[in-house]
């Protein structure tokens, strides 16, 4: 079983290397805690595709708002990879 939470954090720390990702609150929106804009969310999606062959259609981008929602939305996709 892939550690989806860690996968997302790894991607964020690669696309926003100056951000401190060590104390993130899973229930709070990522945008509130980090300096991420819509361009960065696109990069999270693109990296998921590039590294893990996981596709996130544009209408589902809002489901990546918090770490908890990332885990619940992405976990089934990782299970079928």
């Amino acid at each position: 079983m892939a550690d989806v939470r860690q996968i997302v954090i790894d991607i964020i720390s690669d696309i926003a290397p100056d951000e401190d990702v060590s104390n993130l609150d899973d229930a709070k929106s990522l945008r509130e805690q980090l300096d991420l804009d819509s361009m960065d969310f696109l990069d999270i999606v693109m990296e998921l595709r590039k590294r893990h062959k996981v596709e996130v259609p544009q209408e589902d981008y809002p489901k990546l708002a918090t770490l908890a929602s990332c885990v619940s939305y992405l976990s089934p996709k990782f299970a079928t990879v």
Binding site: I15, A16, D18, D35, D37, M39, L42
Partner: protein, 467 residues
């Protein structure tokens, strides 16, 4: 040959777009007509007759706008760094000392600390201070990145806030000459981009000038194995019967891709399509630049500004010169005046005048050369007026005209800020063909790179072209 995307032009926007696409495994082809990258922000060399060897000169870039300190977040420059995965330190940015807007009897200094401009305005235009603060509130809250905003006149907005016409002219002067394709005015969305990038954020200079930026971009292009071809001019954009672009012809060879991003200008792009069903207007603004190498630097007690925006009357005329070039206003750039000041060695001054393309085009070779000499004399005269005590000598001078710009950038009529018909969302009448760079409408070097990035994201990565 088939690609996932074709980018026309290897300037700042084309390289940035190419990097974004290649970063996510798109097979990208970048086609550049010139033998070197950079487009409007490039470099050239001249043989040095007295000492031998060559001298290298930057063109375009006077300063990098959108200056931020290391670690500042949520700004255009920090977005650019993240999107291209570059580090702040790679740019080796030196902040400006300050710059100034110099009109008869009044000057306004500004620096990378917005407080300086505020204190200058409160001292020199005390009755306008509240008005100016209200204007800055409007600018701050305006979303200039919204791609659907229609044109609105900046002068009209400024008049709603500011009562003193002189202050309006002074605020507009640097913003117009650093970015406006329109005569005497600019689109308010572009005004906001420029206001933020010059007055809120300010200027810096990469240690090695424009070549520092280009080599960073070229290294990324090479590391990502993007296919970049120089001396490869696109002669035709291929459009099928349904009005969809599907490829280009370059050097007699056909290349195919489902997405084509063109950075060569909107009118210039349309000219490569069959039938030319649309005709974006060519802007009228073009410029001259004189570059002087001096045997010593101008001492900082004689001039400590990085850039001077000079105008000799209370009204700023931003329009083509009546007679070849207009010496009543100028931008004078002192590339030696950045915070890491080194007072030794040769000095450099670059001076820009507005010009008139159609008059320069009519000159034969000898009148062209003598007119260029007149530009040089007027430029030196103005430098002497600004630093009357300076006793250094000119070791070398070079002057370029609207014809030079047209010849090396292929921008019709030597325009620098492109067409007055922008395509803010990049779309053209042809499906799959998109405009990036100057004619998409983000300004400055940081703006042009962000243009390439955002159009590549929107039309190349998110697949918005399929909607």
């Amino acid at each position: 040959m088939k690609y996932d995307a074709i980018v026309i032009g290897a300037g700042m926007s084309g390289l940035a777009a190419g990097i974004r696409l290649a970063m996510f495994d798109k097979k990208v082809l970048i086609l550049e007509k010139h033998s070197i990258p950079g487009g409007l922000n490039s470099y050239y060399q001249r043989r040095n007759f007295d000492k031998g060897g060559v001298r290298q000169f930057d063109v375009g870039l006077h300063a990098l706008t959108n200056f931020i300190k290391k670690g500042e977040k949520g700004k255009p420059f920090s977005k650019l760094l993240k999107q291209l995965r570059l580090s702040y330190d790679d740019f080796k940015l030196c902040p400006q000392t300050h710059s100034k807007i110099l009109f008869p009897g009044v000057e306004l200094k500004f620096s990378n600390d917005f407080e300086l401009l505020l204190s200058e305005i409160s001292e020199k235009f005390p009755s306008e201070m509240d008005h100016f603060l209200k204007l800055t509130d409007k600018v701050r809250s305006f979303n200039e990145l919204d791609l659907s905003i229609p044109y609105s006149s900046s002068r009209a907005v400024l008049k709603e806030f500011i009562k003193d016409d002189l202050l309006i002219e002074m605020i507009l002067c640097p913003l117009l000459i650093y970015g406006s394709a329109w005569e005497d005015d600019m689109d308010f969305a572009q005004f906001v981009i420029m206001f933020k990038s010059l007055y809120f954020e300010g200027f810096g200079r990469p240690e090695g000038g424009v070549r520092t930026i280009l080599s960073l971009l070229m290294k990324k292009i090479n590391d990502l194995n993007a296919d970049l071809r120089f001396k490869t001019a696109v002669s035709k954009i291929l459009i099928n019967d349904s009005g969809e672009a599907f490829g280009v012809v370059a050097n007699g060879e056909e290349f195919y891709a489902p997405v084509i991003l063109s950075s060569i200008g909107y009118p210039e792009t349309v000219r490569l399509t069959p039938g030319m069903t649309t005709t974006p207007r060519i802007g009228a603004m073009t410029f001259m630049e004189s570059i002087f190498i001096l045997d010593k630097k101008i001492p900082i007690d004689q001039n400590d500004s990085t850039i001077i925006f000079y105008n000799n009357s209370n009204k700023y005329a931003y329009r083509p010169a009546n007679h070849f070039f207009d010496s009543s206003s100028a931008v004078i750039c002192f590339p030696d005046n950045y915070e890491s000041l080194n007072q030794d060695g040769e000095g450099t001054v670059r001076l820009t005048f507005m010009a008139n393309y159609s008059q320069w085009r009519e000159l034969d070779k000898s009148s062209y050369d003598s007119m260029k000499n007149k530009v040089g004399e007027s430029s030196l005269q103005l430098i002497k007026t600004l630093v009357p005590k300076f006793d250094g000598k000119v070791l070398f001078q070079d002057i370029f005209s609207p014809m030079t710009i047209e010849r090396y950038t292929w921008h019709l009529n030597g325009t620098v800020y492109g067409s007055i018909d922008k395509s803010r969302d990049g779309r053209t009448p042809f499906k799959n063909l998109f405009i990036i760079g100057t004619d998409q409408g983000f300004l400055g070097i940081v703006g042009s790179m962000l243009s390439g990035i955002s159009m590549a994201n929107l039309h190349g990565l998110m697949g918005a072209n399929e909607i």
